[in-house]
């Protein structure tokens, strides 16, 4: 039903644009019609809440480029679409997401990382210099995407940070392997989960501190890093300086920033951020289960679902008659890699494979492009659909869930050929 309504309103929007064109609009009015900052209707998706749209604009945090301000405190800032036209997201444009307003300015010389817990051996805390010197360094190119990216597009809307499409980024992360650091401490056979805490803290003592855990087998996998560099530079303050967890394939909630403490434990972590937040109705998605954290009704979110984003077109855009239409964008999944991205220009009746760009690694954004042949006058709908190597495909209709996670609905971009 929502889909139908969406189509009708977009048709009205396209019709409105045609009328405006006939009247010969001034530049300013055209700008206004291009839509507000960070709107998602112009991407051929449902629109974020109108109150959110009215309150967001570009604002530069210290050391960052102007990003889409969602909230100031704690800071939640989204990456504008333009930065997704390259497969690596610049550090200064990388999205910012914090749960709690107490974010210290950590100095590298003061920082240390403790490893403890009832299922770990004894080891002294590591300084940053020790971490860099005593362990083999490793690199991975991986997408960090907030679990709630595109939450604002949920119909009906659900409360939370009303993200558009930009609560994500792709970077080359460099650090040391978590498993090497854990091995230094010693992991006992009863280890069940590994628990991570950052230096950030709540403004009130009563508010649950942001603490996350991973299954021990995931924590011990070779791709999980304690990263101190992003795209060849130290991590920006807003992205977790001096070190953060990088869990390729898993949603951003597990990528704990300003990492300060690690505990290897033999029982499930029970804090609010594990047992109540970041949960999905049990079995609604075909993502891996976090077996030590299952409840009857729900389970933690784990890995990302396959998704794509068209970056070369805007819904409602006018395209010159007879001119090829360039469809470009990026696709990603949880780490099987992208098998194909298909484009439809007949509302999904037929699909054509786009060319894939350079493979930067199975956890990375993968570029795609296809030139559609020029058209005669009229309206057309362009859709893009990514499929992973594991056979997972983007969905035509939203899979609703109360906290607004895993939005990977296929875009429907309306173009007017004139």
């Amino acid at each position: 039903m929502n889909g139908q309504k969406g189509i009708a309103s977009r048709r009205a929007f396209v019709a409105g644009l045609a009328g405006a064109g006939a009247l010969g609009l001034t530049g300013n009015l055209r700008q206004a019609l291009a839509g507000p900052v960070g709107g998602t209707a112009e991407l051929g998706l449902a629109e974020i809440p109108d109150g959110a749209l009215a309150e967001q604009y570009l604002y530069a945090l210290p050391g960052k480029l102007p990003l889409i301000k969602k909230t100031y405190r704690p800071p939640n800032f989204e990456t504008p679409l333009g930065y997704f036209r390259t497969p690596i997201t610049p550090n200064k444009a990388f999205f910012v997401r914090w749960h709690l307003a107490g974010i210290p300015q950590v100095q590298a010389k003061d920082w240390s990382l403790s490893v403890a817990g009832d299922a770990a051996g004894n080891v002294a805390p590591f300084t940053l210099a020790e971490l860099k010197k005593n362990f083999k360094q490793a690199e991975v190119t991986a997408v960090c995407q907030c679990s709630g990216n595109r939450r604002g597009l949920f119909e009906p809307h659900v409360p939370g940070v009303e993200w558009g499409v930009g609560a994500m980024g792709n970077a080359v992360w460099r650090g040391v392997r978590l498993r090497d650091v854990l091995a230094k401490a010693g992991v006992k056979k009863e280890a069940l989960e590994v628990v991570f805490d950052g230096a950030d803290h709540p403004p009130l003592a009563k508010t649950p501190d942001f603490v996350k855990s991973l299954p021990v087998d995931v924590a011990m996998s070779e791709d999980v890093l304690i990263a101190f560099e992003m795209n060849g530079q130290p991590l920006p303050h807003w992205n977790g300086f001096p070190a953060r967890l990088v869990v390729p394939g898993w949603t951003g909630t597990y990528w704990v920033k300003q990492l300060a403490s690690i505990k290897v434990v033999s029982s499930p972590e029970k804090n609010f951020w594990m047992s109540t937040a970041y949960r999905l109705p049990r079995g609604r998605f075909k993502t891996p289960t976090f077996s030590s954290q299952l409840y009857a009704a729900n389970e933690p979110i784990t890995t990302m679902v396959v998704n794509s984003l068209v970056t070369s077109l805007k819904s409602g855009q006018q395209v010159a008659r007879g001119k090829p239409i360039s469809v470009k964008g990026i696709a990603w999944d949880s780490g099987s890699g992208i098998d194909r991205v298909e484009i439809s220009s007949d509302t999904g009746a037929s699909w054509q494979r786009a060319a894939l760009g350079k493979d930067l690694g199975k956890y990375s954004f993968r570029e795609f492009s296809l030139d559609l042949p020029g058209r005669e006058s009229g309206a057309m709908v362009v859709m893009a659909r990514a499929t992973s190597r594991s056979g997972e495909t983007q969905v035509p209709e939203l899979i609703h869930n109360p906290a607004g996670y895993h939005h990977n609905v296929i875009q429907r971009l309306y173009l007017e050929i004139a």
Binding site: P49, D50, G51, E55, T207
Partner: protein, 99 residues
């Protein structure tokens, strides 16, 4: 009001320490009865969280959000203020609120 001021002082000193959030004072809630009580929210977060979550919640939805803040996050909002804040939010940032 004195009680409110005591809550606000630590919040603002935190902003000052962070040095980045002075901008948030530009986010202004609609001037109407109930706004003063609603401003207690800034003990923990900027009020753009309210505009961002509008306009799609009804009074029950806003009440659930306030109760989550109190019961889960420990917000020091007196019980007797919950109804006033929920009314204010529903009326000005609720499902059927005017733009």
């Amino acid at each position: 009001m004195r009680k409110l001021a005591m809550i606000l002082v630590p919040a603002f000193s935190l902003c000052a320490a962070a040095g980045a959030f002075a901008q948030e004072s530009k986010v202004v809630l609609k001037d109407a009865p109930g706004r003063d009580k609603t401003m207690q929210c800034i003990a923990c977060h900027s009020v753009d969280y309210i505009q961002m979550n509008s306009r799609f919640l009804d009074k029950a939805g806003w009440t659930a959000s306030i109760n989550k803040m109190v019961n889960v996050f420990g917000a020091p909002i007196p019980k007797e203020d919950v109804e006033t804040i929920a009314d204010y939010l529903a009326q000005h940032y609720g499902k059927s609120a005017p733009k």
